[in-house]
């Protein structure tokens, strides 16, 4: 008597995340500079509970390589050093364009799903 939909729902998330992680990470960093471990926490608190650490670190590196993020290292008393990331000018532009992409996309999905 065990419905598997919960399991399936969790697995869905990793595919749904594709493309959206960039947006989510940029949005979180626009709010305030942050380092990987911290960004993970903020995303999970925001509702993306399933997000894996490796995904966030990978995304940060990619966005950095693309020139959307700058970074600086800050030593910490409570553990290893922290690599902070901040939005660049291009990063802010990209955040704006991705936000509107997302809005358009989400509307289309709602339209298709909710049309009975």
């Amino acid at each position: 008597m065990c419905n598997t939909s919960n399991v399936e729902s969790s697995q869905d998330q990793s595919q749904l995340l594709k493309g959206v992680l960039d947006l989510a990470v940029l949005a979180v960093l626009a709010d305030e500079d942050g380092y990987g471990y911290d960004v993970v926490r903020r995303l999970r608190e925001g509702g993306l509970e399933g997000v894996a650490e490796a995904s966030v670190y990978g995304t940060l590196r990619r966005l950095f390589v693309d020139g959307l993020l700058s970074s600086y290292v800050v030593p910490s008393d409570e553990g290893p050093h922290r690599k902070y990331y901040a939005l660049t000018k291009d990063g802010r532009k990209r955040l704006v364009s991705m936000t509107s992409s997302w809005a358009t996309f989400a509307e289309a999905v709602e339209r298709i799903v909710n049309r009975k």
Copy 2:
């Protein structure tokens, strides 16, 4: 003097689609049985204008293999035969669970993006 955000916005879509195509195709077929070429049209009319034919055919095959769709061939006077797909019982269950996954996910993204 040419802003590239439009180009970028279009490119975003193919990543955003990941995982959502399953949901969109199931939703469209729940409305009414359909064949590949027709499903493509309906998705585009619904707002997913960039979706590629190969993606839809691939998704249909995958959902069929997974037992979420059944299929039957109907000859056509206006061209080649048409392979119709219909939701199975499992398909309907999956549609329900994916719809709720999507809702939860979209809410989380909105929350993260719109938190100033």
